[in-house]
C-alpha cells in the first residue's frame, strides 16, 4: 500500500528547544498508529506539522501534499480531532451539520444522523448544553461521517469517563475504520488503545524511541518473572527494565532468546504500558 505520511528529518524548533528533532516516519495506508510519549515529548508538535497547523524543517508529505502550503487541498482528505471540546459552544447541532455538509465534499448527512440517533443528542441542542462526553460523541459523529483517508486524533478522550472512552474506540473501530483509511492516535491512556493499534510509535524528547508493528512488538518484547536467587543471572542478559512485585523480580527484555527466558522463570507478554515505561526510562530502543 502507498505511504500516507512520509517524514524525513522532520524538525521543529521553539527558540532553543527542539520540540521535534529529525524524525523519520513512514505510515502506510490501512494502519492504526499509536503515537505515544510523555508530556512535552513532541507528539502534538509532530501532529500539528502533519496537519499543516505549523511550519517545520525537513521533508514531510501527507497523502502527497505539503501540509503547510497545500493545507486546504489536504483537508479535503484528512480529518482531525485536535482536542476535546473544541466545538464552538454557541453552535446548535444542526448548525454544525449544515456547515460541514456545505464545505466538505465527502461528508454524509445520513451517516452523521445515524451516529447521532444512537445518542441523546438532538439537532436543536446547543453545544454548551451538552455534557463533555456528549460533545465528544457529537464531534465523533461529524468526523466519522466524513469519508477521509487519514484521521488524526490527539488525546480524543481526555477527561471523559470510562464508558464514553470505551464506546469512543469501539465506534471508531466498528463503524469507521477500513483498509482504505488510516488513523493516527496520540494518548496518555495507552491501555485503552493498545488492543486496536496495528503500529506503535514511541516519542521521547522529540525523537522516535520505538517504531514497530504490534506483531513485532509482541515477538520482540518479553517479560520474565524471576525468583530473587536468579535475579543476577537475568540482569547479566541486559534487560530493558526491572521491577519487583511481591518479592519476585520482573525483567523486561527486548529481542531476547525465548528458550533462555523460559529457563529463567515464568514468561509473560508485557503490556504496551510496561514497554512504554521501560523505553522512556532507558533511552532509545529502536
Amino acid at each position: 500500500m502507498s505511504a500516507v505520511i512520509t517524514a524525513r528529518g522532520l524538525s521543529k524548533r521553539y527558540g532553543n528547544t527542539r520540540a521535534v528533532d529529525h524524525i523519520d516516519l513512514d505510515i502506510e495506508a490501512g494502519r492504526i498508529v499509536g503515537l505515544i510519549g510523555p508530556n512535552g515529548a513532541g507528539k502534538t508538535t509532530a501532529l500539528k506539522a502533519i496537519l499543516g497547523l505549523t511550519d517545520f524543517e525537513g521533508d514531510l508529505k501527507v497523502l502527497g501534499f505539503d501540509p503547510h502550503r497545500e493545507r486546504s487541498e489536504l483537508m479535503n482528505q484528512v480529518c482531525f480531532i485536535a482536542d476535546v471540546a473544541v466545538l464552538p459552544r454557541w453552535a446548535r447541532v444542526w448548525h454544525l451539520i449544515e456547515y460541514v455538509e456545505a464545505v466538505h465534499p465527502r461528508f454524509s448527512r445520513d451517516k452523521c444522523m445515524a451516529f447521532l440517533n444512537r445518542t441523546k443528542i438532538t439537532q436543536k441542542h446547543r453545544v454548551k448544553e451538552l455534557s463533555k462526553g456528549m460533545v465528544v460523541q457529537l464531534h465523533l459523529a461529524l468526523i466519522m461521517a466524513i469519508d477521509a483517508r487519514l484521521l488524526v486524533l490527539d488525546e480524543p478522550t481526555l477527561g471523559l469517563d470510562i464508558l464514553y472512552r470505551k464506546a469512543f474506540y469501539q465506534d471508531l473501530l466498528n463503524d469507521y475504520f477500513d483498509e482504505g483509511k488510516t488513523i493516527v492516535i496520540t494518548t496518555h491512556q495507552v491501555e485503552e488503545v493498545e488492543h486496536i493499534l496495528t503500529d506503535l510509535v514511541f516519542i521521547k524528547d522529540g525523537r522516535i524511541a520505538l517504531s514497530a508493528t504490534m506483531e513485532t512488538v509482541g515477538e520482540r518484547f518479553v517479560e520474565v518473572m524471576v525468583k530473587p536467587e536468579r535475579a543476577d543471572e537475568a540482569r547479566a542478559l541486559g534487560p530493558l527494565h526491572e521491577r519487583q512485585v511481591f518479592g519476585r523480580h520482573i525483567f523486561l527484555f527486548d529481542g531476547a532468546d525465548p528458550q533462555r527466558m523460559e529457563a529463567l522463570g515464568e514468561i509473560h507478554k508485557p503490556s504496551v504500558a510496561d514497554i512504554f515505561v521501560a523505553t522512556m526510562k532507558n533511552g532509545a530502543a529502536a
Binding site: 500539528k48 496537519l51 505549523t54 485536535a82 482536542d83 473544541v86 464552538p88 456547515y99 456545505a102 466538505h104
Partner: protein, 322 residues
C-alpha cells in the same frame, strides 16, 4: 455558491444577537418611547402641543392648509430619519465589536481547531467575516429600519384615525418613507468603503492580540495620535495634527459610523437647516456617492484591504498555544 452562502450563514448564526436582534430591539424601544410620548402628551399636555421629534402633531391636528400638509409629511420623514440614525448607531457598535472578536474568540475557546479541521481556507473564512461586517450587518439593520418605520407609520395613522381627524391616510401619502430608505440602501456601498479601514484594523487586532484586543485596537491609534500631537510630527509635513486624527485615527476606529461620509461642512448646514427637507437633500443618495469621488476614503480602504490580508496571514501562520 452554497458554500459561500453557508460561510456567511455561519457568521449570522453566531452573531444573531448583534446582527438581527439588536437593531430590531432598538427599533422596538424607539416605538415604545414614541407611543409613551404621544400618550403622555395626549392626557397631560393637551393636544395642541403634541410633538414627536420633528413632527408637530398638534399643528397638524389643527390646520390642513398646503404648508401644514408639507410640514406634516416632512415631520414624519424626520421621525423616520431618527429611526435610521438610531439603528445606524447601534449597527456601528455591533460591527465594531463583531470585528474585534471575529478572529479572537475562536482562538480563545480553541474552536479554531475545529474550523481548521475542515477544508475551508483562511482567506475564505476571513473574507466571510468581512462580508458579514460590511454587507450582512447593514442589510439586516436596514430591514430593522424598514420594520420600525412601517410600525411607526402604522401606529401614527392608527392614532390619527382614533382621533377622527381624517389625517390617517396622509401619514402614508405625505411622507417619503421609501425615499428615505432608498437613501439608506444607496449609502451601503459608501458604508463598506468607509468601514473597510476600521474592519481591517479591528480584524487585524482580533487575529493578532494574545489578550484584550479592544485595548490594543483603541490604544495603538489613539496613542499614536497623542504622540503625533505632542511632538508636532505632522508639522514637518506641513499638515496640522488634526489631519492625523481625522485621516488615520478616526478612519481606523470610527469607519463603521454610518454617515461618516457626511463632511463637517454638511453637518454644519444640517445644524442650521430649518426643515427636514433640507436635511433630506443634504444626506440624499448623492451625498455618499459624491463622498466616494474623494480619493482619501479609497486610500484608507486600500490600507484596510492590506490589513485584512495581514489578518489572513496571521490566522494561517499563527501557532496555537497549548
Amino acid at each position: 455558491m452554497k458554500r459561500y452562502l453557508t460561510l456567511a450563514k455561519r457568521e449570522y448564526w453566531e452573531n444573531r444577537g448583534g446582527f438581527f436582534w439588536a437593531p430590531l430591539v432598538t427599533g422596538g424601544i424607539f416605538l415604545a418611547f414614541s407611543t409613551m410620548a404621544v400618550l403622555v402628551a395626549e392626557f397631560a399636555l393637551g393636544r395642541a402641543r403634541i410633538q414627536l421629534g420633528t413632527l408637530r402633531l398638534g399643528d397638524a391636528l389643527q390646520s390642513l392648509d398646503g404648508n401644514a400638509r408639507l410640514m406634516f409629511g416632512l415631520g414624519i420623514d424626520g421621525l423616520v430619519l431618527q429611526v435610521v440614525s438610531l439603528i445606524g448607531f447601534v449597527l456601528a457598535i455591533v460591527v465594531f465589536f463583531y470585528c474585534l472578536s471575529a478572529l479572537y474568540d475562536e482562538r480563545r475557546d480553541r474552536s479554531i481547531l475545529f474550523w481548521k479541521s475542515l477544508p475551508v481556507s483562511d482567506h475564505e473564512t476571513v473574507l466571510s467575516k468581512v462580508f458579514s461586517a460590511g454587507i450582512t450587518a447593514p442589510l439586516m439593520a436596514l430591514g430593522a429600519m424598514l420594520a420600525t418605520s412601517l410600525m411607526l407609520l402604522l401606529l401614527l395613522s392608527l392614532y390619527l384615525a382614533l382621533r377622527g381627524t381624517g389625517l390617517a391616510a396622509m401619514v402614508w401619502t405625505e411622507s417619503h418613507l421609501l425615499r428615505v430608505l432608498f437613501t439608506v440602501l444607496a449609502a451601503i456601498p459608501a458604508f463598506l468603503v468607509f468601514a473597510l479601514p476600521t474592519i481591517g484594523w479591528l480584524l487585524l487586532c482580533s487575529a493578532w492580540a494574545r489578550s484584550k484586543p479592544l485595548l490594543w485596537a483603541v490604544l495603538l491609534p489613539v496613542g499614536a495620535g497623542i504622540m503625533v500631537t505632542m511632538f508636532g510630527l505632522m508639522q514637518s509635513l506641513s499638515l496640522p495634527s488634526t489631519w492625523f486624527w481625522k485621516n488615520v485615527v478616526a478612519r481606523m476606529l470610527l469607519g463603521t459610523w454610518p454617515g461618516n461620509w457626511i463632511s463637517f461642512d454638511t453637518f454644519r448646514e444640517i445644524e442650521r437647516a430649518n426643515g427636514p427637507e433640507v436635511v433630506l437633500n443634504l444626506i440624499g443618495p448623492g451625498t455618499p456617492l459624491s463622498a466616494l469621488a474623494d480619493p482619501a476614503p479609497w486610500i484608507a480602504a486600500a490600507a484596510g484591504v492590506g490589513m485584512i490580508y495581514l489578518a489572513i496571514r496571521l490566522r494561517r501562520n499563527r501557532e496555537l498555544a497549548d
